[in-house]
């Protein structure tokens, strides 16, 4: 399963693609079971140059109570820095944030589709 993420152009905020456009919460991300619609969404997002910067697909997987990014790096983006818990999306708290906190494993390289190719 995959989700599409980027940083919003105007303020750099981490955003996730869904049917309505870009959402700030991972919990609101559209999850793609198949590659074709995921790649189509990525292509469309790349064309919308005033919305988001450098969109890319990430792998997500089931965790207790829902889904979470496979990569620790991506969970950090979805939460915020671990040294300042009052900053980032984690400050809002709630079940969806707690779910991401409970997920573990996969530091950086895994879970980013076409990382090498993109570089």
């Amino acid at each position: 399963m995959k989700a599409l993420t980027a940083n919003r152009l105007a303020d750099g905020e981490v955003v996730f693609w869904n049917a309505a456009g870009w959402a700030e919460r991972f919990a609101d991300a559209q999850v793609f079971a198949d590659d074709a619609p995921a790649l189509a969404a990525e292509a469309r997002a790349r064309g919308e140059i005033t919305m988001a910067v450098d969109p890319y697909l990430i792998e997500v997987e089931p965790v207790e109570g829902g889904l979470a990014p496979v990569s620790y790096r991506e969970r950090l983006r979805a939460l915020g820095p671990t040294n300042k818990l009052q900053h980032g999306k984690q400050a809002d708290g709630g079940a969806a944030i707690e779910r991401l906190f409970r997920a573990h494993g996969a530091a950086r390289s895994s879970g980013r589709v076409n990382l090498i190719k993109r570089k």
Binding site: N7, L9, A10, D11, V14, D54, L76, P81, T82
Partner: protein
């Protein structure tokens, strides 16, 4: 200190106005990210994990109180009320909005600050001895020469597209407090046999994936020829430096592949055919810059302060601060006060806007209007009367800035790591916090003595792990954060010449790093001989006892 003249101010205003227009075009979709990215990077604006990051240059780490207050204001108004001082003596703001960036550059320009050449393959912000102008052993103020290089290198057309980024450090004292051997060029000013000012020129240092210590390619370069000699070095690098592979494009790789002797020969050949007069600084301009750094406002004072001595006797905490954070000044009755941005449990190098304001006020009232940033991610009040140190300490303590741990085990360098940086493989800050908490007891830290821990979240080595007494490198090992430890590195200073650390053994998981450091300290305390610091003991014993302590269970 040097104040920007009308030419400098006009240049900054023009640059900020130009960037405002470029940002507007990007936000309107008139240019895309591929076109805009080089432009924003040339103005110090990166895109990191959570937001844009603005890297603000602090040339040779010197700030006036007005400039420091402006940094506090910018961090408060446009960021989240804090900034992060880096190993390049820059300030990074981690929560910037693109739409605010032009206003920020305007605010910075109003006090002679900017983000120019804090990114890109150009000559970056210069660093210098943070004790410049206050150290008894210096032969000149190194900032005079750093400022000359800053003016020469800013927007230099020939050196705006080098093979890779280029960093220069300048010192003018025998003690190397700027780690000159890990720079692309390290400049060490001294007096020659006839009393003339001359540079030892080191080239080819650098950390990252392939660490090298710089080699001396010229002794006794007459100081007046500094700029033409730098031009010759950069021309050789520009001509032969690799551009096909970013990992092999730094000058250190060229110097290593040619050999320092051959590289020096080519530089001398290039320099010999240079018409130096148009390049070297005219005497009148050197005098103008020198005048800006002339000591102003020092009083004639007795060398001993009864007030300072009494405070040490009466207050044990102050005595500890005085012992660890207060250093000798060249002027009788004055001291250098070091402010550790390393309160155990806090993020190394982070400083809130309120704290910046406190330091700015103290600089204005007690330190001849100057503050400094050191590459060890600390702040410095360079010119404080001994009589005033107790009052300065009290104000710092009230602001949470009186941690008495300069040079001790909890005075840890750490890059932002995976908590913020798009390049990182692993987090650095939580590792630093865990180690600092382990040694938070000031009596314990004092008992361990001088010990420098340096942590990088990836091989790019912004946290200088290669030159830590204990170096810690974050790696991504099968999808988990692991940390490789090195021992015996040094940036130089009062430890003799710089050295690169040796790998201790297999990387450790995050939770085992602080306990491992505790074990390494245990080995040192058991093995040390009278007067030995951690580094001295390591250099005597080598890796073996330390390795056995950490990996005994593995055998």
């Amino acid at each position: 200190m040097y104040r920007y003249d009308d030419i400098d101010k006009a240049m900054l205003a023009d640059r900020a106005a130009e960037f405002r227009e470029q940002c507007a075009r990007r936000l309107a979709g008139e240019i895309d990210e591929d076109q805009f990215k080089p432009i924003r990077l040339m103005n110090g604006l990166y895109l990191q994990l959570h937001a844009y990051m603005l890297r603000i240059a602090i040339p040779y780490g010197t700030l006036s109180s007005e400039q420091l207050r402006k940094l506090a204001h910018v961090a408060r108004r446009y960021d989240r009320g804090y900034g992060h001082f880096t190993t390049r003596t820059n300030l990074q703001l981690h929560w910037i909005k693109l739409a605010d960036a032009p206003d920020i550059l305007d605010d910075l320009a109003s006090v002679g600050l900017h983000a120019i050449q804090t990114s890109g393959n150009c000559i970056r912000n210069l660093t210098a001895d943070p004790h410049a102008g206050a150290d008894a052993d210096e032969v000149d103020d190194p900032r005079i020469w750093a400022e000359a290089i800053r003016q020469w290198s800013t927007f230099h057309p020939e050196f705006s597209f080098l093979p890779r980024k280029f960093k220069i450090a300048v010192i003018a004292a025998p003690t190397d407090r700027a780690a000159t051997r890990i720079y692309d060029i390290g400049l060490r000013l001294h007096r020659g046999e006839a009393g003339e000012l001359a540079f030892e020129v080191l080239v080819g240092g650098g950390l990252g994936r392939t660490p090298y210590l710089g080699s001396t390619i010229r002794q006794g370069l007459p100081a007046r020829h500094l700029l033409s000699y730098l031009q010759a070095i950069l021309r050789v690098y520009n001509r032969h430096g690799r551009r096909d592979n970013a990992w092999k494009a730094r000058i250190k790789v060229l110097v290593a592949s040619l050999g320092a002797e051959e590289f020096a020969r080519q530089v001398e050949e290039e320099w010999a055919r240079t018409d130096t007069a148009p390049v070297d600084l005219p005497d009148i301009e050197l005098a103008r810059i020198r005048a800006a750094f002339a000591p102003v406002g020092f009083e004639t004072l007795p060398p001993v302060s009864a007030l300072f001595e009494a405070a040490k006797s009466e207050d044990r905490a102050f005595a500890r601060f005085a012992r660890n954070n207060v250093m000798a000044h060249k002027k009788a009755g004055y001291a250098i006060v070091n402010i550790a941005l390393k309160t155990p449990g806090e993020t190394p190098g982070d400083c809130s806007s309120d704290q910046m304001d406190v330091v700015a006020d103290l600089a204005a009232h007690y330190s001849l209007d100057e503050a400094r940033v050191s590459y060890e991610q600390n702040l410095i009040l360079p010119h404080v009367k001994l009589d005033d140190v107790p009052a300065v300490y009290a104000a710092l303590a009230a602001a949470g800035l009186a941690s008495p741990n300069i040079g001790l085990i909890s005075d840890i360098i750490a890059c932002p790591g995976l908590d913020y940086c798009a390049l990182a493989n692993a987090r650095a800050i939580p590792i630093a916090q865990a180690i600092a908490r382990t040694f938070a007891d000031p009596d314990l830290a004092d008992a361990v003595g001088p010990l420098k821990i340096k942590i990088s979240g990836c091989i790019n080595a912004c946290g200088h792990h290669h030159v830590g007494h204990i170096g810690i490198l974050g790696v991504d090992k099968k999808g988990e954060e692991f940390y490789q430890l090195t021992l015996g590195g040094s940036g130089g200073g009062d430890e003799g010449e710089a050295s690169l650390g040796q790998i201790l053994g297999p990387a450790l998981p995050a939770g085992e790093v602080a306990p491992a450091v505790d074990q390494l300290v245990g080995v040192y305390l058991r093995q040390r001989e009278v007067g030995e610091r951690f580094l001295d003991t390591f250099r005597r014993t080598g890796l073996t006892p330390f390795k056995e302590a950490i990996y005994a269970d593995a055998h």
